[in-house]
């Protein structure tokens, strides 16, 4: 379990990192926290020729309060976000999501952007970015582009980031006052990958009806995904137990659930509906309670 030989590079700007990516081509990979990449290298599943370490690029380690969003640079460690007072105040769902990510020592090294760029189908952060409509800033040789979360994840370990590009930051919209949010998941052991999980953000109108709703699911298919049919079922309705149950039943419409030794497709589909129901119920309860 030793990686093959690779070159280690440490640029001092995003521009320089992108230049190195383009110089070394397909074999070059960005190294941030390394919590997924390095084990994959040890198993020789990933065999990069060049590792471009961005963790010391000035400015990439910043958490910025943009007013309506929190922007997290590509070198910001998960634990830094987890314990950031600004994030706790403005985007507490992100803090709750991070509590589910692996184990504390891993969060001390792992980065939020690295996890998102890795695009593991089990990723809590991917699902949270979907539920919050986060925006990804992707930088390449010809400049930067903004990608909404719904367009960012393509499949297992695959995003819209092209060869020669890197994710430089992600912006999470702040959780609007008066909305309710929840994340929950089922994994066989603490800190392990979720077999199924959901994230939801719900706003209620003055009439008590659902004004807006997002529901995203993770751990169950080839990528984290938005459950639009479930959202549509709720929007404009009173969030009764029946409505939530019906929405939960719609959470997996047209989804091909994955299967492995920890759960068959049927079991994952069952769990997905259970967790869709659980997070919708919690989010609604918090919205009704006036929780942020």
């Amino acid at each position: 379990m030793k990686p093959p030989r690779f070159e280690y590079l440490r640029p001092d700007s995003v521009g320089a990192a992108v230049a190195l990516l383009n110089e070394h081509g397909e074999g070059a990979r960005i190294l941030a926290g390394g919590q997924s990449l390095i084990p994959m290298m040890n198993f020789r599943i990933a065999q990069p020729s060049h590792l471009i370490d961005i963790t010391r690029v000035p400015g990439l380690d910043a958490i910025t309060d943009e007013g309506n969003a929190i922007t997290i640079g590509a070198a910001v460690r998960q634990s830094t976000v987890e314990y950031s007072p600004v994030v706790k105040d403005r985007c507490p769902l992100l803090v709750e999501a991070l509590k589910w990510v692996a184990h504390e020592p891993i969060r001390h090294r792992g980065t939020v952007c690295g996890s998102l760029a890795h695009a593991d189908p089990h990723s809590e952060l991917a699902a949270t970015s979907l539920a919050l409509n986060a925006t990804f800033t992707v930088v390449g040789a010809s400049g930067e582009r903004q990608v909404p979360a719904v367009d960012f994840f393509i499949g297992p370990f695959t995003t819209v980031i092209e060869s020669g590009e890197m994710l430089s930051s992600v912006s999470f919209p702040v959780v609007p006052a008066g909305s309710g949010y929840a994340i929950d998941e089922f994994s066989r052991t603490h800190g392990n990958f979720a077999i199924a999980g959901g994230v939801s953000v719900i706003q209620l109108g003055a009439d008590g009806k659902v004004a807006s709703a997002t529901l995203s699911m993770f751990g169950m298919a080839s990528r984290a995904f938005r459950a639009f049919a479930a959202e549509e079922r709720l929007i404009g309705s009173m969030p009764t137990a029946e409505a939530i149950a019906e929405a939960a039943d719609l959470a997996l419409v047209d989804v091909d659930c994955s299967a492995d030794m920890h759960g068959s497709e049927e079991y994952r589909a069952h769990l997905g509906r259970v967790y869709a129901g659980r997070v919708l119920t919690s989010a609604v309860a918090r919205a009704q309670g006036g929780s942020k």
Binding site: M1, K2, P3, P4, R5, F43, R44, F186, R188, T189, H190, G191, N192, F193, I195, D260, M261, H262, G263, S264, Y267, H270, L271, V274
Partner: protein, 801 residues
């Protein structure tokens, strides 16, 4: 010697901090991977991607051309360098195995070549460059499929994949079943797991072509009286092999004795004349460690009388053994030692079917087969209570072997030395707050939550003896399982201990020896020093395993101490000018009986035989050392007709475990609400370290019951070769255990000790399964008989499947 007549103990029974801890906590324990010899090379093993295939050819030229690669040894070359691997099964010629497969691979991960290089990195680079031409064969992925007509054969010399099928029966089994008022039957499956020590198996071998000595440092040196077998495999004279023990970062059976890693490093070093290190990485360890644990199916039934008396037990156990039959049916001999559990069952029939499959071979894992039997038996007893409509606890009590019946000879021949099962149960119940939990259970059910309580009463045989291998074989078996120490008292009276196997497996051999020396020689346990000696020049040591080390090392220390005391009295008699008979050894010195003012301390005495030969009587030789080879305190030979298989595992510990769980019937998840474990391991040497043993074993029992499994698919591909999928419970999954110890001394061991090293794993699975059943009872769920109880399996039980 029992406790009767003993003086009050000063050290045994105290929770002293472990002597071993400091060096390991400071990173100065000297683990095998910390060892670095000048010019040392490193090994990577190329492993088969196929479960079953012929090796048609191999191209190693690219690997050999890689700078830094010193040699590539293929399976074919290894077959010339080494003989067959040591094997303890009764028919070794039918299914031999090699350190590397030469003609055929029989499981995913079996080694086919090694690359020896300047670093492990380069060795792994070289490994990627080897090309192997495999001709895949039909895989044999399970014991059931292995027995189907037309199944591919793993070993050409065999008529089927069944390596063994025989029955041991004692007592009137058929008669009891004919007369039985009730017959209860259960089918049980125990999933394949393996010990996962933090440190894997490893060896550093160093061959000296000048004198022909091959020295191998290894973290799995045990059974030193069998080291000649390893020498035979390495084609070296048995007196030219020195296996030197290193501390092990956990074993739990996985480092039972030095085989794959040791032979791999030894072969490479002997071939190249340079030091060579091979330490398994986690993937090596998962795929092809020395052995996985048991994977078994049971059809088990009990004959019960009209008034609820257990009369006879009959079982068929099918063992999905893996590719080789290295330990034969030793794991069933082991189960035979406690085949009736704590119950007074009169007759037993035990059919063991050993089936070869395309998986890593089976061997030792904390319990060595008797933990599986415990699970099957307790599941059967729970079912009996349901079918008889009686309280499960009362049914157990009714059938307990009562304290007046010890020593108790069981069907088969083994003896249970002592026990008080009711007292252990009482102690557990006293702490369990069952009334509270029953009320909580009722309340939870009203809320649609499912809480369950499981109670099991089980045996824990201890102090392994070789006689367990006699079962299921006709020929006479080996009967020696000694453990040795040497004591050295220096000129200042300071005591050093030498041990002769990888005594440290994560257990506390030095702490035990130090505490016993505190009693025997009156020295301060903190002041004792320890060393380990290799097999060459070494006294025999069987090592830990089968919960034997505490008792065995105590016997050895006690015997050696007696020799030291005798010499001390002899010398003191001269110094004090008093007859030897008027002296006694008390509190670290020799004094005139009844007159503490006339006394010589051990330090005052010790300098004499070290420095003053001519100031002592002529018959006192110089030196102040004592060796002791301690044999197992209580085993007997079988009768010639094998109607009685003899006494082989008589130190019978016992435990009650009570698990309280809540099952989420929507997800299948299980969480612990409470856990009580009361053990009776005879006299406790160090309660704190015994607590650690019980909790550690219990954690492995939780893993077995709920999380861990080496899953092989229909193609024989392993699905859980990393800890991403092979789920080891962490502190977050392990209950906060409330522990108790009851002490029923053994009449046959020093101080009345019994072993306690495997306890938790022997008991937790049945307690957890019982609790899950109790939780799901109102839902009409099927029973928890198939481990691990994965969440999906629990959902399917709830759905009645």
């Amino acid at each position: 010697m029992g406790l009767g007549g003993m003086n009050k103990l000063n050290w045994i029974g105290r929770s002293l901090p472990r002597v071993e801890d400091k060096k390991f906590l400071m990173g100065r324990g000297g683990y095998i991977d910390d060892m670095d010899l000048h010019g040392m090379l490193h090994v990577a093993v190329l492993r088969s991607p196929f479960a079953h295939a012929i090796i048609k050819g191999m191209d190693t030229s690219a690997a050999e051309a890689l700078p830094g690669v010193v040699a590539v040894i293929t399976g074919k070359q290894a077959a010339e360098l080494c003989d067959w691997m040591p094997d303890f099964n009764p028919e070794p010629n039918l299914h031999k195995w090699r350190v590397l497969a030469d003609e055929k691979v029989r499981y995913v991960g079996e080694g086919v070549a090694v690359v020896v290089a300047e670093s492990r990195y380069i060795a792994e680079d070289g490994r990627d460059l080897i090309e192997v031409d495999y001709e895949p064969l039909a895989p044999v992925p399970s014991a059931r499929k292995a027995q189907e007509a037309g199944a591919a054969l793993l070993h050409d010399g065999m008529e089927s994949n069944v390596a063994h099928d025989s029955t041991l029966a004692f007592g009137d089994v058929d008669g009891e079943f004919e007369r039985a008022a009730h017959i209860v039957r259960e089918h049980v499956y125990w999933g394949r797991t393996a010990a996962q020590p933090m440190e894997t198996a490893g060896s550093v071998a160093s061959y000296n072509p000048g004198n022909g000595m091959l020295t191998i440092h290894a973290n799995s040196v045990a059974l030193t009286n069998f080291s000649f077998l390893v020498a035979g495999t390495l084609k070296i004279d048995s007196n030219k092999l020195d296996l030197v023990p290193m501390p092990a970062g956990g074993s739990f059976g996985s480092k039972f004795w030095a085989t794959r890693a040791t032979v791999t490093a030894g072969m490479c070093s002997k071939f190249l004349g340079r030091p060579v290190k091979y330490v398994e990485d986690r993937l090596d360890h998962a795929l092809s460690c020395d052995h996985h644990g048991s994977e078994r199916e049971y059809d088990i039934e009990m004959a019960i009388s009209a008034d609820g008396e257990f009369r006879a037990l009959r079982l068929v156990c099918t063992d999905d053994y893996g590719a080789y039959f290295q330990f034969g049916l030793g794991t069933h001999g082991n189960a035979m030692s406690q085949v009736i559990g704590p119950y007074d069952i009169k007759a037993i029939s035990y059919r063991a079917v050993g089936v070869l499959t395309n998986k890593c071979q089976q061997g030792a894992y904390r319990g060595f087969g008797s933990e599986v039997h415990n699970f099957a038996l307790e599941r059967l007893v729970d079912k009996a209570a349901i079918e008889l409509g009686v309280d499960a606890l009362e049914l157990r009590r009714k059938n307990f072997i009562t304290p007046d019946k010890f020593p108790h000879k069981i069907p088969g021949g083994n003896v249970y030395d002592s026990g008080n099962y009711e007292a252990v149960l009482q102690e557990a119940l006293k702490d369990a707050r069952l009334d509270y939990w029953r009320a909580e259970q009722a309340k939870a059910r009203e809320e649609g939550r499912y809480v369950g309580i499981g109670i099991v009463t089980q045996q824990e045989r201890s102090v392994y003896a070789a006689n367990e291998w006699w079962f299921f074989r006709g020929a006479e078996g080996v009967s020696s399982v000694p453990e040795s120490v040497s004591l050295h008292v220096d000129a200042l009276g300071k005591v050093s201990v030498t041990m002769y196997s990888t005594a440290f497996w994560g257990n506390s051999p030095e702490t035990v020896a130090a505490q016993v020396l505190g009693e025997e020689l009156g020295v301060n346990p903190d002041e004792v020093s320890f060393a380990y000696q290799g097999t060459n020049k070494g006294l025999p040591g069987s090592g830990p395993g089968g919960s034997r080390f505490t008792v065995m090392i105590t016997g050895a220390v006690q015997g050696a101490s007696a020799k030291i005391r005798d010499k001390a009295i002899k010398i003191a008699a001269h110094m004090l000018e008093v007859a030897e008979g008027d002296l006694e050894y008390v509190n670290g010195g020799v004094q005139v009986k009844g007159d503490p003012s006339q006394r010589k301390s051990l330090a005052e005495i010790a300098i004499m035989p070290r420095l003053f030969k001519h100031q002592l009587p002529d018959d006192i030789t110089s030196g102040f050392d004592a060796d002791m080879v301690y044999d197992h305190p209580y085993t007997t030979l079988p009768t010639a007709d094998r109607s009685d298989l003899g006494i082989f595992y008589p130190m019978m510990a016992h435990a009650t475990h009570i698990a309280v769980v809540e099952v989420d019937v929507e997800t299948g998840g299980v969480k612990f609400l409470d856990y009580i474990a009361v053990h009776d391991c005879g006299t406790v040497v160090n309660p704190r370290s015994l607590d650690g043993q019980v909790i550690g074993g219990l954690a492995q029992g939780v893993g077995q019951a709920l999380y861990e499994e080496f899953v092989y698919d229909d193609e024989g591909q392993i699905q859980s070769s990393s800890w991403l999928d092979y789920l080891i419970p962490s502190a977050m999954e392990i209950p906060e255990v409330r522990l108790g110890h009851h002490e029923t001394p053994s009449p046959f061991t020093p101080y009345g000790m019994k072993g306690g090293g495997e306890g938790g794993r022997m008991h937790a699975p049945a307690a957890i399964a019982s609790a899950v059943d109790d939780a799901l009872k109102p839902l009409g769920a099927t029973r928890a008989t198939h481990l691990p109880l994965t969440p999906e399996r629990i959902i399917s039980m709830v759905n009645g499947h």
